[in-house]
Symmetry: C2
């Protein structure tokens, strides 16, 4: 069996300093010098700290957890970590968790109900204090069950019912896209709306439709197609759109990777971007600006969503009441909707953010 790295214990520090473990614990757990002085003389405090430091003492989290009934562990479930958006959100979660002294476990659910349920059980059995779901289904049925079991959780990326959540204001993001497309004269917009159970795509779609309608542009139901938020899903959905006539003059793919798939489908059909079809994505992924045709997209604060999600969960664990949080997106105009020449003449640089 793997020999353990020798970790110092409170007892060792106590023996070395000639005090009891109680005192060592109290001193080491004191936030300030002042509060430490309630437990020991200045000199003892120094000796204890020196001994702890020399051993690289660090309290055993299993022992602390067992004693205090707090694991300082958070469980995170995402559809898939391979997805840049969710990976970024998770980075935010983990960063904030580490700062607050928590550790996280992440797993994929692949949006599969069975896997989601199993993953949740595994996390509960690990005694997480709370959970963060990035894979909420819009109906919220599964989550209802989790709530009824008394487990606290926060949703990120996708919202559902009135459960605590931190999302991008996707409806607003959709509006920004609709307004932009109208402003560049597009009148026939097709939308790749993502999976029908994810609020992200649904809200973005609704926002775009609302903005377009207000400008007198109607989006008939057959212009809205569902599919996965990845390149392959985007290509397939685009092909369905492009197989029918007339062709739209703009496509809003509610996800950057789906938009890349659309690019492929357009190229196959020798359609040019943006002259034949303007293309807009969502999320302002690192790739968007670097694509052969730089992609107009909506920047969503992914990292921030993760951070805030973790913070909201900690508030919840402390018994606070929390409100769903919608963080504002910004439109980033690039050459997939406004050609380089046109953008030069209008003063847009084609890469910076602009509302």
């Amino acid at each position: 069996m793997g020999r353990r790295t020798p970790h110092a214990t409170l007892q060792m520090i106590a023996d070395e300093t000639g005090v009891t473990p109680s005192t060592v614990s109290r001193v080491l757990n004191s936030a300030s010098e002042a509060s430490a002085r309630r437990w020991a003389s200045a000199e003892t405090i120094n000796r204890i700290r020196a001994a702890a430091a020399s051993h690289g003492y660090t309290p055993n989290p299993q022992a602390v957890g067992l004693r205090t009934q707090r694991s300082r562990l958070i469980g995170v479930i995402v559809p898939r970590l391979q997805d840049y958006v969710l990976a970024t959100i998770y980075e935010g979660i983990d960063e904030a968790a580490t700062e607050k002294g928590f550790a996280t476990f992440v797993t994929n659910s692949l949006d599969d109900p069975q896997k989601r349920a199993r993953a949740t059980e595994t996390l509960l059995s690990r005694r997480v204090e709370g959970m963060i779901f990035g894979d909420a289904q819009f109906d919220g049925e599964f989550l209802q069950g989790v709530a009824e079991r008394g487990m606290k959780f926060v949703l990120v990326s996708r919202r559902a019912r009135d459960f605590p959540s931190v999302t991008c204001d996707d409806h607003l993001g959709g509006r920004l896209v609709g307004e932009h497309l109208v402003s560049i004269g597009r009148r026939d917009v097709a939308i790749l709306a993502g999976e029908p159970y994810a609020s992200t795509g649904l809200d973005r779609t609704r926002g775009a439709i609302d903005a377009l309608r207000e400008a007198g542009v109607d989006v008939p139901p057959h212009r809205v197609v569902h599919g996965r938020f990845d390149a392959q899903g985007g290509r397939e959905a685009a092909e369905r759109i492009l197989d029918s006539r007339p062709l739209p003059d703009a496509i809003f793919a509610a996800n950057d990777f789906a938009a890349i798939g659309v690019m492929g489908a357009l190229r196959d059909r020798k359609l040019s971007i943006p002259d034949d079809v303007a293309l807009v994505g969502y999320n302002d992924t690192a790739l968007a600006a670097e694509l052969p045709t730089p992609l107009t997209t909506v920047r969503s604060p992914m990292h921030e969503i993760g951070r805030r999600g973790l913070e909201m969960l900690l508030d919840l664990l402390q018994g606070a009441e929390v409100e769903p949080l919608r963080l504002p997106p910004t439109l980033v105009v690039r050459e997939s909707t406004v050609s380089a020449e046109a953008s030069r003449s209008t003063g847009t640089d084609g890469s910076g953010p602009s509302v």
Copy 2:
């Protein structure tokens, strides 16, 4: 404070069944019916199991860990989870870990020595039994220190010194690219080699150079440029290459995302792929096949690298001797090196794998 989800304890099951916790523990920890019979009568066993099931009993891992001195926790450090390649490798690690009853913690190091050191300490303080590094620097100095402290670890993706590792056979992958470029008549190849401290890019570059040299094609030093393995890094590196004359007739970007950046740089200069410049990536990322110009690339078994890495670590923890493992890559030819017309005439479908 967040009220805990009530978890059943051994004591509760014992009370309910009229036996001692010792017996419950022994029965529940028996692998088979037969071995359970050593501790209790068939009827008692059934009663114990029924009680445990009805409470959804699951042993408290902190208590088990404290008692057995085994946390069943593994620490994983990657350069960045946002990177599709590392995210996929991590998915493999976590999948295998879950199967074996282990849980994992992941963190980013961003290839920053300070962050890496800090993350390692945090993981050690969480009492992980072993670690997996996906961010090894080629010199292996940091890792040497970790090894000297008695912590067992395995490297994935990148190798360093003779430390246990699971990687793609990157030298072979590079060779496949070199041979392919020669076979389609390219004689002036530029290479985006990635960061100079990562074995991945170094080995791929060396492999390509070796294959090209054997075919009589020399790659002078100025044709090898270093940079980050992402779209922006690829674009910047490509610009350095394309600013000098003569232009190369092929570019091997040792990473798919870097290759996407190269595509952008080529388009800016109105250079066509593959006619002016053939382009090859590495990893066969989900995007590669769906790009406007489908990308010729080398498929590496990312998920498998993760799985095998975890398995190797468990072997190590059991005291086994292990050998570094190199998993074989395959070349996938697409239109970025062989145009659709050409591939039609040669029978290549432009998307399936082929050596």
